[in-house]
Symmetry: none
Subunit: 222 residues, 4 copies
């Protein structure tokens, strides 16, 4: 209780809030794969306790309910992804390279942590309507950066003059769908290759130059 802490000078061992935070994180990291394996409904809190080799009551000391535990686990997943982006994506200045890197990091993260893919599904399935999906929070937080990046590219004449919001969403959908399908289909191809393939299409489209030219003409006629 902060008020109390302010009233009395902290003396002796400070209530080790940091320790509590560490413990919470340990629990979340243990809980994620357990939820991912059994699903939300079929996961007993006891399973999580077992995975940690602690009593069930202990889990409840750190999280008020199974629901809170689950949602915190999802949240922690998205936090981690954000950290990865901060370290490995937003440090790249060149816009097109940053795009490619974002795709790679994204796919790589969920291949390393398939449990978080499950958790995103489970969150949607179980808490539909009750909560804005954690994934959507993540997406909305990052979107403006991409809009800006696109605007820059268009200004420089490197990108076609397309509506940036829509385009960002289309690309986001592509990446999102790829993440899910990658996981569901247990695709084992190298991320590197997939990423290259995707970026080629995103950058160049599928049409031949001849067809593009023909269609450009047609559109002009509209």
């Amino acid at each position: 209780m902060p008020a109390k802490a302010a009233a009395r000078k902290p003396r002796g061992r400070p209530k080790d809030e940091a320790l509590v935070a560490v413990r919470r994180q340990q629990i979340l990291d243990a809980a994620a794969p357990v939820f991912a394996q059994h699903g939300y409904g079929n996961t007993d809190v006891q399973f999580v306790a077992d995975a940690l080799q602690v009593g069930k009551g202990t889990v409840y000391r750190y999280f008020p309910s199974k629901e809170a535990l689950f949602l915190a686990a999802v949240d922690r997943g998205m936090q981690r992804l954000t950290e990865r982006f901060a370290a490995d994506v937003y440090t790249i200045a060149e816009p097109l390279e940053r795009m490619e890197q974002a795709l790679r990091v994204y796919l790589d993260f969920f291949r390393e942590h398939p449990e978080y893919v499950e958790l995103l599904i489970l969150e949607r399935a179980e808490f539909r309507g009750r909560k804005k999906p954690t994934y959507a929070q993540h997406r909305d937080a990052h979107m403006p950066r991409w809009h800006e990046l696109f605007r820059g590219l268009i200004a420089e004449g490197r990108m076609r003059d397309v509506p940036v919001e829509r385009t960002a969403e289309v690309l986001n959908d592509l990446v999102y769908g790829t993440m899910f399908t990658n996981y569901f289909a247990a695709r084992d191809e190298s991320i590197e290759e997939w990423a290259e393939r995707i970026m080629d299409l995103v950058f160049n489209g599928i049409l031949s130059d001849a067809e593009r030219a023909k269609r450009k003409g047609r559109r002009g006629n509209r």
Copy 2:
């Protein structure tokens, strides 16, 4: 009255197989939105019975378990989608138009039937590992047609010479992700516009002609 009736005179109320099929379908159509609203675990079979204004036992006369009921409901959804494709997509001969139409029909179907989006999620969440997702069955059934279509376009020089399987998967992922996000984000933009935006990117990519040319040169240097 079937011919058989002449052979042996059945006493009492005769069975009616056709009626059974109709009844099953009515139940599935009632079950889909109920499952979609409450999720699998939170759906009492009684809710489905209530929606139909019949007794719970009646539902169990037609489906041996809640699980069977749910899975049949998902299946029925994909069946409907397949019917829509047969009627509105595969009847179009021109390849690029067929692609655009496929996208439109797909997005339209799931906007009309958002309950089936939920059902796909719930199936994955609840029966993870126990069953090949119904969606994947649908995808795999349709893929070869698109491979063929792409090969034809490449042969005609209308499409860049890209690996057709990979490309088909990337596009599939894009559509799949769009369907989910459309639903989750409750995007209210017209399908028509979205489809146009997507197809523009798919056909032309995002880069300007200048950037494309520059990169084409670079790639040649690799």
Copy 3:
């Protein structure tokens, strides 16, 4: 309704009550082994209907409830036993021979119809307290005859002067226990041998003449 039948002269086909009785008996004979196999609680009335290849409703036309059906089946078993006794036991005049025959017929009957052993158990288990066991009814109906028989033997000096009621009950208990154990233990020895063994003990006891003499002396001292 007999009264009505008296009021109007029976004309045309008489309400064939005999047919109904036959049908009831067919149902009971089919029901007995079904109940015996599954137990009372685990027997669906449908099983009985299936065994008869009729609809479930038909069974209910002849018996108002599952309970009535079951109890009637038990009753029919005891009726059959009574018939066997009338034909094969009470036709024998010589008292000791009649006793031996009674034992043989009894054990034989239940070996031929093990389903009725089960039914006796099930009746007790399921309707404990709600109904005088059918078996007990049978026993009580026959007891007086045995009392009389014993009194005759004693009067003739062929049987020791023991209290006939008690003795009859002890013998009844012996036979009753043997029937159950025979069935439960699936004893396969010939009935003939068992019966002989039992009657030897009943007639002569287990003690040697010497021991009998010694004990008789002792008892005299009391």
Copy 4:
């Protein structure tokens, strides 16, 4: 506190294995009369919980299923009987006295614990075929002792030279049947008298000396 406690300091509430055993027994002792009163199928586990004034979940903490609970209750009954035999029967050396005592103790035990008679019936009725009856296990465990006792008596010339296995079974059937009938008929006569009557018959048979002599002659002629 076990030695192990020194090795690892357990945090929180320790498990107490002894308490578990006691608790299980309390539950079984409460369950026996409840099952006996309502029958197996009609007993809600809640009834047992109510009898103990605990929650239903508590019963399930100690027994994995209603079935396990029931079977354990039957088992406990036979255990108790065995204990009584060890204390009050097998401590008697004189063979004929031991026989009389066995009968008395047996009948007395089931008069004191009529619930176990019911449980034996219910076990047979409900688990027919799925399990060797607990009663039969008890019987088979004790049989060899009686065989030995009989052989001794025959060797000493105190018992007629009859086949001991068969004889033991006949007597067992007698006792078994008596136990059931005693209970079903709610006989209120003193056990002492019944036992005496039974043993008189078992020892001496029902025939008069004259009849015995006559029949012995006849048998000799066979």
